[in-house]
Symmetry: C3
Subunit: 261 residues, 3 copies
């Protein structure tokens, strides 16, 4: 099943994507979910996360603004997702910047069966003990070979590793893909990494495998980024255009626009 076919299916089925995410981007990821064609819900209370995730087609865990009771809720929701066969995406925002974040991401990986880890090179490197520089939530250093990092992380963590950057590298340890869609303006606003994790969750709800879903999500999000950049005057108008572009993505032409190798 191609990216275009997955997108068509997503718009038809409108899966619920349960997100336990950070305060900075909740509105943005909810709107990206809606623009793509799925339904978002944000819920983090321990009293309801298990019930909510049972209704969902995917669960997205994002550690961008962390505190202890949110970590507990993420673990609870993740285990319930596993029990119901709901795929889980982890976005380890800022792993490597503080020991608390690195530790929280590792704990979730230990206690939850995560399908896809979507992060920048510095974050993913930090999870597998590769030296990297993370300045706040930005990967500012050079991690060398990102394709190799994706393959290493996939094998070490038992996940699909989705390492985004100028070129995105996705690996399940055996298969590998590089996605060149996207635009440098995606780095000009906050939350586009988080949105790409959410879009990954949306595609996991309909794609045949987590690897396929992770690749297709970055194709779709990258193409939307290219469209959004076209007449943007700066980060504000790019941000607005991005939602318009996600909603305007055309399943019929998405595959011919994919730049995957």
């Amino acid at each position: 099943m191609s990216a275009g076919e997955s997108l068509a299916r997503l718009r038809e089925r409108k899966p619920l994507v349960h997100q336990i995410t950070n305060y900075v981007v909740m509105n943005e990821t909810a709107n990206a979910t809606l623009a793509l064609g799925a339904l978002p819900v944000m819920a983090h209370a321990p009293e309801e996360v298990e019930e909510m995730v049972g209704l969902a087609g995917a669960l997205v865990l994002n550690i961008g603004t962390l505190s202890n009771h949110w970590i507990e809720a993420m673990v609870m929701a993740g285990r319930a997702a596993n029990a119901s066969g709901v795929p889980v995406v982890l976005d380890p925002v800022g792993a490597g910047a503080t020991g608390y974040r690195t530790g929280a991401a590792r704990r979730i990986l230990d206690e939850v069966d995560v399908s896809v880890v979507r992060g920048n090179a510095g974050e993913v490197a930090s999870l597998v003990g590769v030296a990297a520089e993370v300045r706040g939530v930005e990967s500012v250093g050079d991690v060398g070979d990102p394709a190799g990092l994706a393959r290493h992380a996939a094998l070490a963590l038992g996940v699909v590793a989705s390492v985004t950057g100028p070129v995105d590298h996705i690996s399940d340890g055996e298969r590998a893909a590089a996605v060149s869609n996207g635009d440098p303006m995606l780095a000009s606003i906050t939350g586009t990494g988080c949105m790409s994790s959410t879009v990954t969750g949306c595609f996991l709800a309909v794609a045949p495998t987590p690897f396929d879903g992770a690749v297709q999500a970055l194709v779709a999000f990258g193409v939307a980024g290219e469209d959004a950049a076209r007449d943007a005057k700066g980060p504000g108008s790019f941000h607005v255009n991005l939602y318009d572009a996600l909603a305007a993505l055309d399943p019929a032409t998405l595959d011919e626009r994919a730049r995957v190798s």
Copy 2:
């Protein structure tokens, strides 16, 4: 007093609208409040909600991203609002999706004298034990007769029930109104339901009765939605236009644009 007259009064008096709401839409409802002409304040600490609500013209309680200490703050603020004669709006976001949300909304209704409950059909149905399907925070099923639901909920809960959808139905148990203003694009972004609850709070601060305020708010918000849709290219530009349109609402022409039956 007509919708246009209430809007003119609101812009003159600039009432403070105290909102205890969810993380996803706080910026959006604050900006909608300002665009309309009132003043928003978000405050949820038990140490200050009673003092803050004493300064307010209305209180809006929204359970969209709930946890236990927020429920306590909502009940405290609601009781203080009742003691001061400040009208209270409840937005039962996601009631029906989890028992926790349904229970929280019912507890607030038990312990606080709520003036208006503003929700979608599935949420309102869940509060009065009518079967409904709520997928996350969306009403996806068919609840039959929404006008009948509004009347039933008004009588059962002792509130003005404001059931929004393609046509909005408002009832205080005796009087009933149907508002046809609005645009399908309002469903394309997150938080428009929450904004309509906030706009309801703004109008309650100036309208002669909660029923009048609830109807006038949905007229004003619906007309702004119509204006915002006019040259929107998608959900991103619609979202931007919506604030411009709320700020541009003209008290002199609002009543002739109202589609109320």
Copy 3:
């Protein structure tokens, strides 16, 4: 060093600006930070604030949606910033509206060595016991002479006081500046005060003194506001334009556009 020189240095160094701020504006202040050219990070867990602030060029504390464990985190982060020589900005949002907010702001000032307090006249007046009216988070009364207030607050609190309004007044107790850049539309959306505090933090990371940084920040933010207002149709499009304008600020022309006396 002029405002233009500081802006050029900021874009070259890309300092990390650690922000412990309110739920309403987190996305807005993060995007303003990126648009200006610095890197934002939001982190509030007591387990990580000390480590995170050690990586930062400035710390911004904003009490807009307060609760007790957030106050504790602010104090911890502030002390760690002091120990590392990282400058601290305090935005006392809503001080004067409730005793809880006034008390929290005063406690932070007691326990942390704050470089700059950036607030509206009512908020700053409340911190030094001058009568003022704060409606929610808006200063609605007349505090008389804002230049005198800035000087008084600077001396009484031992900070640079940055009192924003139609004209901004900055004082360190000896020097004083009045910045006339800006546009009335800045008051039409929520979070512009918070953004000006964040921009102050960005400039503190590169400016020679807190007084210079506070003045230069308001020049830059005010010029961006002027540019954003130019073809805005209302608060929604102004908001979008504001990020485009911050990103487009030109270090080469910023100083000639400064209106400082």
